[in-house]
């Protein structure tokens, strides 16, 4: 749910990173946290297990600057990817303004990606969000690993609408800011269209 505060001249948007377990959602946020100027970010909050698997969500507030005089804040969330945290994933999508679907490019994760995408579309509907209309960007992560699916095959399986997509190597930052920037742009355009 975007929140525009005309009194304080602020725009707040919620962006969610979704994808199968171990696809690199948290790594995206960690890289962003590492690279942005200290003055523009809040604390990175990770509700994780002892083995650093996301238990509920990660949260990173970013205040990158102003758009036309409005302070613009993006609240980045990840969902827990493991299958049995389905109930939590649904909760995090509530009020999302935009979603990054982080796919794991490895051959043996094709099924997990497809299942996660179907799960995401279902949960968006349950949160009264239209999967066809919500701003969405796809990131094909782990492109540096040896056994990866060619991009055109991933596109056919996961992005038939040819939404904006990026190749990613999240620990090195490849594609991380490109993905975020593309989603930010879509979300701000949608916000402008609605208001």
């Amino acid at each position: 749910m975007s929140f525009i505060n005309y009194a304080a001249r602020e725009i707040n948007c919620k962006l969610v990173y979704y994808g199968p377990g171990l696809c690199g959602k948290t790594t995206n946020l960690q890289y962003i946290y590492k690279m942005v100027d200290p003055g523009t970010k809040g604390k990175l909050i990770s509700l994780a297990t002892e083995t650093e698997r996301t238990l509920f969500f990660d949260f990173l507030p970013l205040e990158l600057g102003t758009v036309r005089g409005f302070k613009t804040r993006f609240h980045l969330y990840t969902v827990p990817g493991q299958i049995f945290y389905e109930a939590s994933r649904k909760l995090i999508l509530k009020g999302a303004d935009g979603v990054v679907f982080v796919a794991d490019s490895q051959i043996d994760r094709v099924e997990a990606n497809i299942q996660s995408l179907a799960d995401m579309n279902q949960h968006l509907k349950e949160q009264a969000l239209d999967p066809e209309k919500i701003p969405l960007v796809v990131q094909y992560n782990k492109r540096d690993l040896p056994k990866v699916v060619p991009i055109d095959e991933l596109q056919k399986a996961l992005n038939p609408r040819n939404l904006p997509w990026f190749e990613g190597i999240a620990p090195e930052g490849k594609g991380v800011f490109e993905t975020l920037k593309a989603l930010a742009k879509l979300v701000l355009q949608e916000l402008q269209r609605k208001t």
Binding site: I4, V36, I45, L64, V67, L91, K181, Q192
Partner: protein, 168 residues
Amino acid sequence: MPSIANFVIYEEDLSRINACLSALQHKARSSAVLLIDTSGQLIASAGETDRLDTTPLASLAAGSIAAAGALAQLLGEQEFSFVFYDGERKRLHLSVIGRQAIILVLLDQNTAIPLVRLQVKKFSKEMERIFIDLAKRPEPAAGSGRSFSEAGIGKITEDDVENLFKKR
């Protein structure tokens, strides 16, 4: 309560909300009160919030309320009316207004909890009335009301987005 999706507030709305929050903060003898939307964004606050990191507080409070709601449904309850955290020095009282917003009341160990619950109930009703008024306000028609562009933003361009990411 009506939906506050794509929530927009103006100066006069914020004044009403702030007045309501300040009164609650005073009457509940709380150190701070936060109004949060259920997706985790802070709408307004009152009291001693300078030393609080309100952004993650809002996000975590929304997560807590969402988890409580899901737990309630699993147990066949429609909802749990409030969530209460009791620490050595601080206490937190979280409750939902309608289905769209959360009131977080920060307390110390000297506060009488029944008093807090009574005041939260009372001010929740007042807050609901404010939201109903907000929802009744006509949508700004293109070229007529206080649309996004007429409030001084204008069209958001590619350059605007580029500039946001330049200084990171």
